[in-house]
């Protein structure tokens, strides 16, 4: 979710195999660099592999360009890597959030074959995504400061996740 010169990215902590809960402290939000975060929902193994490939590509980029990747560029990279597997896709939906030039927040989400969805306010992904759309739509306000943004994101996450059997066990929230 986007705030005033800041963004927040959040996820739940449950890892499950259909109805059975395997772990209650699973991390699905990864840091690419200090101003760029990636959340990966869906199949855990694909999320891990995709993250490892993206970090590899970003490190190469850092070596060649001697700077961090812009969020827009990173989103294009993710989209391309997902589309490479068009006929045998990664079963993940990424959520990308970063601060671009002049601290302008950038957020986007994608389906599992790389169709980008840019938004100015919020993006959601996962099994409770429909619930999340509703919760974010009603709780979102333009230009929230970091503290208020944190509260809003946490409440939206918790209320949606409480209506989903396959999500839960708390949340991780990052505000940048």
């Amino acid at each position: 979710m986007v705030g005033k010169n800041c963004f927040a990215i959040a996820s739940d902590r449950r890892l499950g195999v259909q109805l059975q809960t395997i772990a209650t402290d699973f991390k699905r939000i990864y840091k690419v660099h200090d101003r760029l975060f990636l959340g990966l929902s869906g199949l855990a193994t694909d999320a891990q592999t995709l993250y490892q490939r993206l970090v590899f590509r970003h490190k190469l980029y850092q070596l060649r360009e001697e700077r961090d990747m812009k969020p827009e560029t990173f989103a294009n990279l993710v989209s391309a890597i997902l589309y490479e597997k068009r006929f045998g896709p990664y079963f993940c939906q990424p959520v990308i959030a970063g601060l671009g030039d002049e601290d302008k927040p950038f957020i986007c989400t994608m389906d599992s074959i790389g169709a980008k969805e840019l938004a100015k306010d919020f993006v959601v992904a996962g099994t409770a995504s429909e619930s999340l759309y509703g919760a974010c739509e009603s709780m979102f306000k333009e230009g929230m400061e970091p503290e208020e943004l944190f509260e809003t994101v946490s409440q939206a996450l918790l209320s949606s996740v409480d209506r989903d059997c396959l999500s839960g066990w708390g949340g991780h929230v990052y505000v940048v």
């Binding site: 109805l19 809960t21 402290d25 991390k27 891990q48 970090v55 989903d164 059997c165």
Partner: protein
């Protein structure tokens, strides 16, 4: 073909002081939680309880129907119906609707002249007498706790705590179980509701949070 399990956890067991019956309260439609406050323990009459697993409408209707038939039996025979008789009535009805898509996985628990009684009845027409049952998608987890802690000569408080723990552990692992863990006791004078605790609160009661410095730091996932 493996049958898809009914999304719930219910359990009941006979012990020295009667029958302990417990259930969660979550209703799920696929992945969506439609309610966290469903009454899954149905009061057939003041000395008999039925548990609900499977289709809510099916269970509610047929339990109420069973209550009606039990009352008619009382009026016709001037004595209360036994748990054996009541469970047989229900099983025969469900057998006649076999293959028509009813979804009922219920336990009939009560106290009659022969003492405490517990029967498992399902939509396929199965009817089993037993001392311990658990029904639903969370039942494997509940059985693990229940079978481990069960003793015939427990007090009412110990049995209630065992039932509550078993439901809590099932709601922890099973995504289709949750909400409130209700515990009922059926004794010689009928049933009584003992407790209804939110399983989230039970989690922190059984596993209180120990203050720690940092739970987990962001670490780089090492590349292949």
């Amino acid at each position: 073909m493996v049958k898809p399990a009914k999304g719930t956890t219910t359990l009941a067991f006979i012990f020295k002081e009667g029958v302990m019956v417990a259930a969660d309260s979550r209703a799920s439609m696929g992945g969506y939680i439609s309610s966290q406050s469903v009454k899954k323990i149905i009061e057939i009459n003041p000395y008999m309880l039925g548990t609900m697993a499977g289709g809510a409408a099916d269970c509610q209707f047929w339990h109420r129907n069973l209550g009606t038939k039990c009352r008619l039996h009382e009026l016709a025979n001037k004595r209360r119906i036994s748990v054996t008789g009541a469970s047989k009535l229900l099983a025969n009805i469900l057998y006649s609707y076999r293959g028509m898509g009813l979804s009922v996985g219920t336990m009939i628990a009560g106290w009659d002249e022969t003492g405490p009684g517990l029967y498992y009845v399902d939509n396929e027409g199965g009817r089993l007498k037993g001392m311990r049952f658990s029904v639903g998608s969370g039942s494997p987890y509940a059985y693990g706790v229940l079978d481990n802690g069960y003793r015939y000569d427990m007090s009412v408080e110990e049995a209630a705590e065992l039932a509550r723990r078993a439901i809590y552990h099932a709601t922890f692992r099973d995504g289709a179980s949750g909400g409130v863990a209700s515990v009922y006791h059926v004794g010689p004078n009928g049933w009584k509701k003992l407790s209804g605790d939110d399983v989230g609160e039970l989690h922190y009661r059984y596993y209180p949070v120990m203050p720690s410095t940092v739970e987990q730091e962001m670490v780089e996932v090492t590349g292949a």
